[in-house]
């Protein structure tokens, strides 16, 4: 039975040794396709690099399939096409993402120096050279700091409720709405606080932004903390409860210390996420070229918002673009360091129990 089947796959019956393309075949086909793609483009006088690359890619797939189908059989040919598609997809995705990192670093280092980090835009016009991001970094740190002070404890406490106490309808509702909240676009959180401010007839100030950021942060913290608390084995809780330790002390002294590394990681990742949020800050904090250290009164600057305003309000001034890139580099560096440290903590504090 198999022999009729194998025969269709172009393998000689009874043989384990299907004909195979030589190792170098894919490279040869790739080189040939690129050459042909370039040749056709040159002959037809096409201009864009997209065109010859696309022609080459199509040629490669067709040639691989044809060659492999003839020599190795249809199934091997399909396998090879799938493999090349997966590789192409990966390489395709690498290009923009690498370009993003490369551009930010290359253009960002131009004006990024001590002066840039310690000066504001107070006396510098949007299209002029000079100036810096001190005011924006200060504003961001304050807004994000306040948001964390509000969002992190509420998030952690909610997660404790869900894991340690949560049964019944209230817990189910909280779980559901935490999921829903995770999906709220940041600008909607901004609009919500804005609607409050409209009711109270308030002008933009830093803390308003913090509130919106806290709303964005809470569900993220709840989710990650929940995951961490669930990793704490029940035996530990039972061991403590069996000693007659009250539940709240069990949670504080046994459960939380066991999972503190993971919770810290989750909070830091959430901080990294809200630090880059621009939209709510734009609505609520408004931006300010001057240094305003008071988050509770008057418009403040913020790093992501600074990037946007340097880009959007400068009418194409190269100085402003340089500043925008430098601020982007600073922002990315901050977010990446937070991420790396957070992951470091996660690895370092990783489950001592329940391995």
């Amino acid at each position: 039975m198999s022999h009729t089947a194998t025969a269709t796959a172009a393998t000689p019956p009874g043989s384990l040794r299907g004909a195979r393309l030589p190792q170098w075949a894919p490279y040869a086909v790739a080189a040939g396709s690129v050459a042909a793609g370039l040749g056709i483009s040159a002959a037809a006088g096409l201009h864009s690099s997209v065109q010859w690359a696309l022609i080459a890619a199509v040629l490669y797939v067709v040639a691989t399939y044809g060659l492999s189908a003839r020599v190795e059989g249809r199934r091997q040919a399909e396998d090879r096409v799938a493999t090349s598609f997966v590789w192409v997809a990966f390489l395709l995705a690498v290009v923009p993402l690498a370009s993003l990192v490369w551009a930010t670093v290359k253009r960002g280092v131009k004006v990024l120096d001590g002066y840039f980090l310690t000066h504001s835009m107070g006396v510098v016009g949007d299209a002029e050279p000079g100036g810096g991001i001190y005011h924006a970094v200060l504003g961001s740190l304050e807004q994000v700091g306040l948001a964390t002070v509000i969002g992190a404890p509420i998030g952690v406490l909610t997660a404790i409720y869900l894991v340690e106490y949560g049964r019944g309808r209230l817990a189910r509702a909280v779980t559901f709405f935490v999921d829903v909240m995770t999906g709220i676009p940041s600008i909607v959180a901004g609009l919500f606080v804005l609607s409050l401010m409209l009711m109270l007839d308030m002008q933009p100030f830093g803390f308003a932004g913090s509130l919106a950021l806290a709303i964005l942060m809470m569900p993220v913290v709840v989710r990650s903390t929940e995951e961490m608390l669930k990793l704490v084995p029940d035996e530990l809780r039972e061991a403590s409860l069996a000693l007659g330790v009250p539940k709240w002390r069990t949670v504080l002294k046994v459960v939380l210390p066991t999972s503190v590394g993971g919770i810290t990681t989750g909070v830091m990742l959430a901080v990294a996420r809200i630090t880059g949020e621009t939209a709510p800050v734009m609505l609520l904090v408004f931006g300010n070229p001057f240094i305003n250290a008071n988050p509770f009164e008057g418009a403040q600057a913020s790093l992501p918002l600074y990037i946007y305003q340097q880009y959007a309000q400068s009418a194409g001034s190269p100085y402003a673009y340089d500043r925008a890139w430098a601020a982007s580099l600073t922002l990315i560096a901050f977010v990446m360091i937070l991420n790396l440290v957070a992951r470091g903590i996660a690895r370092w504090k990783a489950p001592k129990t329940g391995r």
Binding site: M1, S2, H3, A5, T6, T8, A9, T11, S15, L16, R17, G18, R20, R74, R75
Partner: protein, 258 residues
Amino acid sequence: MAKRIDVSGLTAYYGTHKAIDDISMTIEPRSVTAFIGPSGCGKSTFLRTLNRMHEVTPGGRVEGKVLLDDEDLYGPGVDPVSVRREVGMVFQRPNPFPTMSIFDNVAAGLRLNGMRRKSELDDIVEKSLRGANLWNEVKDRLNRPGSGLSGGQQQRLCIARAIAVEPDVLLMDEPCSALDPISTLAVEDLIGELKERFTIVIVTHNMQQAARVSDRTAFFNLAAVGQPGRLVEIDDTERIFSNPSVQATEDYISGRFG
């Protein structure tokens, strides 16, 4: 259809760790050969070298020869994919494809081989399910998911799936260890029938089972934990269980260790 297997000087590694060392044996066609031995002695690893599944594990590596009727499975240019089509395998835990119906599970291997005609598929699926003693239990629900069957039925479904492509050899890696006694009996009966058509190799922890189903038995052992496993002896099952030529075999079988 059934083929003889000739193994000579076979050594298998996990990364740098040597799992089995220098094993040679002959497995006769149309018979059941059982591998027994204590845990970690490499009998499952050895089984997986017989259809080149060992190298699927990260770091898995094999030296030596496995001849399937004179053709070396590890020879140059041999395609592991075609090896596995000739040497089928049934696993310890039943593993039907969870998203497929009973019918599709059995037909999966055939479809891979390019069989598309419904009537032909119908015939072979029925034949394979009958061959696995499962037809009467599932013929009315061929379109239900395979994961809805009981453990024993799932295992027989996996056997049906394996025999549907008519392999030369059928490897079974502790096929009954996850099953209850009644399902075990059903699978054992099935093995007895299948050996008319296939070369069957079965790894088992259960010595009564080895004695019941196999014609020949190979005893594997390891010198110490961390040492590679070795073949101690292979002989007719009757002889292994009554009068083995090596003392260690007798110790193991009589329950003095392991």
